[in-house]
């Protein structure tokens, strides 16, 4: 039973490694979409800044996307 679990975990780990190896397939000339503004992680920077400020002052959590600390007395 333990062996089966070990084999399963090994197989999963290998499949993850294989997936990682295949990540390196996006070539510079395939990056047209990735270069678009809509695809940037912080494409709506001001929306995110305003949202972070509201939720920082209304909820018990902050940060994650960027730094969480300091800022204002609104909390």
């Amino acid at each position: 039973m333990n062996n089966k679990i070990r084999i399963l975990i090994t197989a999963l780990a290998l499949s993850q490694l294989a997936a990682c190896a295949s990540l390196d397939t996006v070539k510079p000339w395939q990056r047209g979409t990735l270069a678009k503004k809509e695809m940037q992680l912080n494409s709506a920077g001001l929306d995110n800044a305003l949202d972070d400020h509201i939720y920082f002052s209304k909820e018990g959590s902050s940060g994650g996307r960027s730094f969480a600390g300091g800022g204002c007395g609104c909390n």
């Binding site: 996006v26 509201i54 959590s61 940060g63 969480a68 800022g71």
Partner: protein, 438 residues
């Protein structure tokens, strides 16, 4: 002949690659706005105005102007100016009662009355804040990039100063980026009426024979005029291109805050066995807090639309754990217009010292707060943004969202009259934002 043919194929491939690369570069430029008609050569500006309004509570207006200057050789200066104004009423932490209640204002001067059955709200909040951020980013060596920045925020009773830095390195032909960042901030608070001592009772002028006697007692209930806190933070990130239409980011952050972490305006009601308030005591939170978070974000391009999905798990040594899921999906519609629906769900457990009230006759705990913002809560946001690209490449967008918080009882038994009163009322807010880039 063979050699020549191979050579010409290589040359043709190289030429094609270069053409594609430069096409991508142009696409990137037009999308990041560098090809827009700029007000100042080499600078791009983004601006937004936000109105935030809660039903019967806080109203806020916020304006942001950000500027990004291109200094060549991939070097940029980012500047950010924020102005905001806050008015309205905020929950004090005291419980609703079957009769009207009177509270002393935080300054000690004057009082306000809460109607029977209503959640006590302090309506003295009026504040204007100005915030300035600046950062400089540039390549360091091949594949390395660095950013250094500063932060300044000032309001009537609060000052925050901060510095931050970040280094990132590209791997796998820029398909993988690792980054590490750090920030340090120093905040000082100088509230009207000073900072109350832990669990000191709210005093009432009517209980004193003279103004002098009241003022002396009030001053004696204050620990100090002002206090400070510092926050140090580390942020590690991995960004991975999964395929030409999928980008992923995973961040881990740890932030440690030390100093004055209580809220000088928040109180806890002490109630008797029938739920009737006997007095209100100023809250006390621990003087350190370590927060950690995992943040996972995905960007997908799906047949012309763009989907942004993120999830955050946050935990801290106050036992406040939270989950946040956020989805934005941008669809092109007629012409240059797009629509972007947005949904967000948030849920948190209460901090271990959160209590909606204190019970008469019980010993005081080391720490306690009735601030619903660190209590058990679910919240959701739904809304949409509609935008267009105008002539000259300028973006214009309007965003309308609805936000609701549903605080919950973390399992506290309610004595007497409190069973028939609303102690965990919903907070409802509307946000309207207009954005313009030029």
């Amino acid at each position: 002949m063979q050699l020549t043919k191979t050579g010409s194929i290589s040359a043709a491939l190289a030429a094609a690659t270069c053409t594609l690369l430069s096409a991508n570069a142009i696409a990137a430029d037009s999308n990041t706005g560098n090809s827009t008609d700029s007000l100042i050569e080499g600078w791009q500006f983004n601006s937004a105005l936000l109105y935030y309004g809660e039903t019967d509570r806080v109203k806020a207006a916020e304006a942001i102007l950000s500027a990004r200057g291109d200094f060549g050789d991939d070097k940029f200066l980012n500047l950010n100016l924020v102005l905001d104004s806050l008015t309205g009423a905020s929950a004090t932490g005291a419980v609703a009662q079957p009769d009207a209640q009177t509270f002393t204002r935080p300054s000690g001067a004057g009082s306000y009355t809460t109607a029977a059955g209503a959640t006590p709200l302090d309506d003295t909040f009026h504040d204007t804040r100005v915030q300035l951020d600046a950062s400089w980013e540039q390549p360091l060596t091949a594949n390395y990039r660095g950013t250094v920045g500063g932060h300044f925020s000032k309001e009537y009773d609060y000052l925050s100063l901060g510095i931050n830095g970040n280094i990132s390195r590209d791997f796998n032909h820029k398909n993988t980026t690792l980054s590490v960042g750090t920030s340090f901030s120093h905040d000082s608070i100088n509230p009207e009426g000073g900072i109350p001592s832990a669990f000191t009772p709210m005093l009432f002028r009517s209980n004193f024979a003279s103004e002098g006697a009241y003022q002396q007692a009030f001053d004696g209930s204050r620990r100090t005029d002002s206090d400070t806190k510092t926050t140090a933070e580390l942020l590690f990130g991995v960004t991975q291109v999964i395929n030409p239409d999928w980008l992923m980011q995973l961040n881990y952050s740890i932030a440690k805050a030390d100093g004055y972490l209580s809220d000088p305006f928040k109180v806890l009601s002490v109630v008797n066995s029938n739920g009737i308030t006997q007095q209100n005591l100023y809250e006390q939170r621990p003087d350190s807090r370590t927060k950690q978070s995992l943040y996972w974000q995905n960007k997908w391009h799906l047949s012309g639309s763009y989907l942004d999905l993120s999830y955050r798990y946050m935990w801290d040594d106050w036992s406040l754990n939270s989950h946040t899921a956020d989805a934005r999906w941008r669809f092109p519609v007629a012409g240059n217009w797009y629509i972007e629906p947005h949904a967000r769900y948030y849920t948190q457990d209460e901090a271990e010292f959160y209590q909606p009230f204190l019970s008469e006759g019980m010993p005081l705990p080391a720490f306690a707060s009735a601030d619903y913002r660190i209590g058990q809560m679910d919240a959701y946001t739904v809304g949409a943004k509609v935008g267009t690209v105008l002539e000259g490449g300028h973006d214009f967008a309007v965003r309308l969202e609805y936000y609701q918080q549903n605080p919950n009882n973390p399992g506290v038994e309610l004595p007497g009259v409190l069973q028939d009163l609303e102690l965990f009322g919903d907070v409802k807010a509307v946000m309207l934002q207009v954005s313009y880039s030029f």
